[in-house]
């Protein structure tokens, strides 16, 4: 008996099947990209320690009430103006020239009733327990933006690169370790010029 030759399987529709699967996975894939505002919490201090005394003029108080309204330095303010207000406060450099506290890189108004220098300036945020989280994040975002703006300005002036861009590059790995080492001391210098001093007061009970 003559052997029957096996018929060849038609593989023409293979591509269609693969395409179908491909489209399914394309649609279901969510490449996770978790990003956010990083923060370091203060450690719990022993109760015997006295909190450091901060002069009133070096303190920038941001109050958020349960209606999500903003009170900055005892004045009502729109959120969109917060960033500039924070920059003005941090960059004020009120200490008179010649003193040890004089800030030679500040470009602010040098108002003696506002902060002495960025190192002394503290931003204190106080929110109500009923403040919405969206508002909380917006306020934090604006304050971090104020610091980033000043750090970028100084790093641009001194080294010719932007602080946030380099930091981002190191985080994502676009800048290799050897280069990152070179940037590190300079970044620390910038961080020292504008140290992030954001304090959060214990929130008040609602209605107080």
């Amino acid at each position: 008996m003559a052997r029957r030759s096996t018929p060849e399987v038609n593989a023409g529709s293979m591509a269609d099947i693969a395409f179908l699967l491909l489209i399914f996975f394309l649609v279901t894939t969510t490449i996770e990209k978790d990003k956010g505002i990083a923060r370091q919490l203060p450690p719990i201090e022993p109760p015997t320690e006295k909190p450091p005394v901060i002069k009133q003029k070096n303190l920038f108080i941001v109050n958020v009430n349960k209606e999500d309204q903003l009170l900055v330095e005892e004045k009502l303010m729109e959120v969109k103006n917060l960033r500039q207000a924070a920059i003005d406060f941090l960059d004020n450099g009120g200490a008179s020239s010649g003193t040890a506290e004089y800030c030679n890189y500040c470009k602010g108004k040098r108002d003696i009733t506002s902060s002495d220098n960025p190192e002394k300036a503290v931003i204190s945020v106080q929110n109500d327990r009923l403040t919405s989280y969206a508002m909380y994040i917006t306020v934090q975002n604006e304050l971090v933006a104020a610091y980033n703006f000043l750090r970028n300005r100084e790093s641009q002036r001194k080294f010719g690169w932007k602080f946030t861009e380099i930091k981002n590059g190191i985080d994502t790995g676009d800048i290799n370790d050897a280069e990152a080492e070179k940037y590190k001391p300079k970044m620390e210098e910038i961080q020292k010029m504008y140290p992030m001093k954001l304090s959060e007061a214990e929130p008040k009970k609602s209605g107080q």
């Binding site: 505002i37 990083a38 989280y133 994040i137 975002n141």
Partner: protein, 157 residues
């Protein structure tokens, strides 16, 4: 001089599509590998607030905490008060400590000191619940936190 003359006429040869399935399969495998099916079934609403001054989270040392109002289908059961979710169940503020300590224990030993707590909180939640979480984290000495946000800016819209 007909040595180099084409055997056929000037017709264009058909493009060989035999390798098309291979290419598609390669893409398919890429997406299959990259796809992460959600491990944590969300029990709370989770619409993140927007921010643009952001940093990237290093996943290997992250512990996730979700918070928000219970999802629509759980409202009748748990009410509409803000809740904390860790893993795939609700956690009370009082139980937060042991649960978090356990999660930290599961990380690689070298990373346990560098643990970063990722807070995924719904934007309509009250800040009070976040404050409670932060207070617990301070007690546990897990001081590095990151508020996970969506790209954008709340002020612009």
């Amino acid at each position: 001089m007909s040595k180099f003359k084409n055997k056929k006429g000037g017709e264009l040869p058909a493009v060989n599509t035999a390798s098309l399935p291979d290419i598609v399969f390669m893409l398919l495998f890429f997406f299959m590998v990259v796809t992460v099916l959600r491990q944590n079934d969300l029990l709370v609403k989770n619409e993140l607030p927007k921010a643009d001054q952001i940093e990237k989270l290093q996943k290997d040392r992250a512990v996730y905490i979700y918070a928000g109002k219970p999802s629509d289908r759980y409202v009748s059961q748990y009410g509409s008060e803000g809740k904390i979710q860790i893993g795939d169940k609700y956690t009370d503020v009082k139980n937060l400590k042991p649960v978090l300590a356990e999660l930290r224990g599961k990380l690689a030993p070298i990373l346990q000191d560098k643990v970063m707590v990722a807070l995924k909180v719904d934007k309509e939640t009250n800040t009070g619940i976040v404050t409670d979480i932060k207070q617990t984290l301070r007690e546990l000495n897990m001081l590095k936190i990151i508020y996970i946000t969506a790209p954008g800016n709340e002020i612009d819209n």
